[in-house]
């Protein structure tokens, strides 16, 4: 039975194994590859998408769980929070290999959407689920503070 949901604002209907993780459904079946695979067990955050605005580890979310919901991937990010975050990411040259960064940005956008003055502890809490093996954490932190400043201006 097909699973119906909204992906980046477009209605989609996928008739695949409903246990297939959202990550692989979006990557392999729909062909959007901005969300990455890093662990497959909700440990690294590389696969982070927004489901109804909340950051979710799509590698561990079965497709059936998003029936009727609205899913956003890095490709579908829009709005001033996303803009501020992505611009700050470029300005601070956060990315090294870049592989984790879609997930980092999805988590950062979710954080700043609800909190435009995050403390370092808030950042730790929101970003702790996102591993960066290149350890770009210093710049992730400063980019988030910078984006927050832009949003408050």
């Amino acid at each position: 039975m097909a699973v119906n949901f909204t992906l980046n604002g477009q209605p989609v209907s996928l008739d695949v194994d409903p246990d297939m993780p959202l990550l692989w459904a979006v990557r392999d079946e729909i062909g959007l590859t901005g969300s990455k695979f890093g662990c497959g067990m909700a440990q690294c955050g590389a696969c982070t998408m927004h489901v109804d605005g909340e950051p979710v580890r799509s590698c561990s979310t079965p497709l059936s769980a998003v029936e009727g919901q609205s899913v956003t991937t890095i490709e579908g990010l829009q709005g001033k929070v996303a803009q501020a975050v992505q611009d700050a990411w470029v300005k601070h040259e956060v990315a090294q290999c870049g592989y984790c960064q879609s997930g980092q940005i999805m988590s950062a956008v979710a954080l700043l959407s609800s909190n435009t003055q995050p403390s370092d502890d808030d950042i730790n809490e929101a970003m702790q689920g996102n591993i960066c093996r290149c350890a770009t954490y210093v710049r992730i932190r400063s980019a988030i503070h910078d984006a927050a400043k832009t949003l408050r201006a």
Binding site: D17, M20, P21, W24, R27, D28, E29, G31, T33, G34, S35, K36, F37, G38, C39, G40, M41, Q43, C44, A46, T73, I74, E75, L77, Q86, W89, V90, E93, V94, A95, Q96, C97, G98, Y99, C100, Q101, S102, I105, I123, N124, M127, Q128, N130, I131, C132, R133, C134, A135, T136, Y137, V138, R139, I140, R141
Partner: protein, 734 residues
Amino acid sequence: MTEQSKFTLPEADRRRFLQGSAAAIAGLVIGFHWAPRGKAAAAAVTDGSIKPLGETMNAFIRISPDNTVTVLSKHLEMGQGTYTGLATIVAEELDADWSQIRTEGAPANAALYANSAFGTIQGTGGSTAIANSFEQLRRAGATARAMLVAAAAAEWKVPPGEITVSKGVVSHAASNRQATFGELAQAAARQMPPTDVTLKDPSEFTLIGKNVPRLDARPKSNGTAQFTLDVKQPGQLTAVLQRPPLFGAKVKRFDATKARAVPGVTHVVQIDNGVAVVAKNFWAASKGREALEIEWDDSAAEKRSTDEILAEYRTLAKTPGKPARKQGDVDAAFAKAAKVVEATYDFPYLAHAPMEPLDCVVRLTADGVEIWAGDQFQTVDQANAARILGIKPEQVKINTLFAGGSFGRRATVQSDYIVEGVQIAKAINGEAPVKLVWTREDDIRGGRYRPMYHHSLAAALDANGMIIGWRHRIVGQSIMAGTPLEPVMVKDGIDHTSVEGAANLPYDIPNMSVELHSTQAGVPVLWWRAVGSTHTAFATEVFLDEIAQATGQDPLTLRRRMLNRHPRHLGALDLAAEKAGWGKPLPAGRSRGIAVHESFNTYVAEVAEVSLQPDGSWRVEKVVAAVDCGIAINPNIITAQVEGGIGYGLTPVLYNGITLNKGAVEQSNFHDYEVLRIDRMPEVEVHIVPSNAAPTGIGEPGVPPLAPAVANALMAATRQKFRSLPLPSKITSA
């Protein structure tokens, strides 16, 4: 897993490789291979390896009519910023405008793109990319510039000497004429390249030394950067491989019935290293793999536990090893010592765990094979792929994409993951392009670890606390033994990568003996970001602090007294100490530790500031680093690499390595092989020592001093000894 590669290196290349990988490359401007534009570039265009878009000025530069300049990078971009760094060197001598610069990975073609530090091998590693490219790319840029000038001079009928070039515009002031590179490209490409060019004096640099923006920052911030995992060829299938549960085990028999019954599974095939399930998508392939029934033959497998292996290492360390360095009379020094300090140190196996697990796409074609990968060792991978398919290496076309990290993992002389991909494509008769995906579990359990090591050190001190004798024994597996590089990298029983950082210890000690026991274990091992220095820096720099503490000396003063003949170590050490406020008071519960280490001809000192809670828990609050890597091509990228190196180096300080229980790897994913997360990342400050020396690498050298600096800070605070990694998460009073 001791698959022997048939790939061999000619003797001259081996020597070059040795020089290149050795931490002691003298004068990094190694002779480069300059391919004359006409023949070589034309060959690259006709074999399809360079897309004939725009005008090929030489093997490294293409200029399009739309005025973009594409720099072909012979080195893999795995996060270290090499695309930007290499393009900066070209743009500098070309006098291009930075906004017109693009980069793409060069095709696999060692005749054009060899790493001169590795001889005639195209590959990336040993922090050599900038060092081996500096002269070569400056000349490439200057040559193309001269051709643009010659074209303009011919068209405008003015002497070339009156023409100037700035920010991508070619001008003749007297006649008030200007042209862009794009406008001149076609005519320029027809000019004879000059045989000699004058390079800029460093004082004339306008891009080198400035923080030009990274070329990959935007695509890596909006999900458009293309990694191997993102490749989709028409009809492509996905494969996962069930590898043996123990290193060295083999498939005895398997039953694929249930796996084949999983919807979407198209093939189940056996290859050298296990049983592959091929399917329409990743999910079906992994479900198919779970359904496999395999019986393994583990008669030749490694079945020891890491505890047992380490116990053997400790016993071995009590006996003399093969000499890696010998000077003076060590026995006599110990005989007359006023005091002797001794210590042993243990280091676990470490997985690289790059963020993007290993993957490649393989498509068999009518005339060979096409591979997509974050390829780090193109020439070696071509040779190994060709051997499997019975074709010539030049029939192996490699598209090098961004790699989601590597830290050494993607460069193996056996081409492990490439070989697997090619064998699977062959086993399904090339019916479809295949993407082989390693899961994180495959990665953590897949071997090719930083070897486990045991070090034993002893120092003989005179009555003034000066070190008069030094004995250092290292026990561990050789990375090079059993590979085609053994004949050169292992000399008189000494694998250079096991002793680098220890055998070349910079300190002025009259009597020294550094010895090595190379051990045998069935666990595949590999270079891991900073290689030998990942353990030798810790053993030597922590031991030095133990000596300082035993003799009541300041750790900085002790080091300074012994570095008279090593000004670059000293320069980095002094700068780090000054910026960190070494010797100045700290708030209660805080302490500092210092370490200095050279790797890959780059000198790095780090001061770690650690806070200690009354309950014994602790954290690294801040690290101040000073770096001497010669001319700093891009200070911002250098800073980023040192920040990242510190974060990468902190993981094995805080968390467990890989352990084996009766041969089986006990870890599998990030829940039990933990890595640094944002909450434990310290504040980092990076200072660059001003220099006009030839540029050296920065991808690795930030790693080695971190762990000893942290341990030394804890030692200063607690007066306890820290002799193995990871460090205890809580320090209980002794």
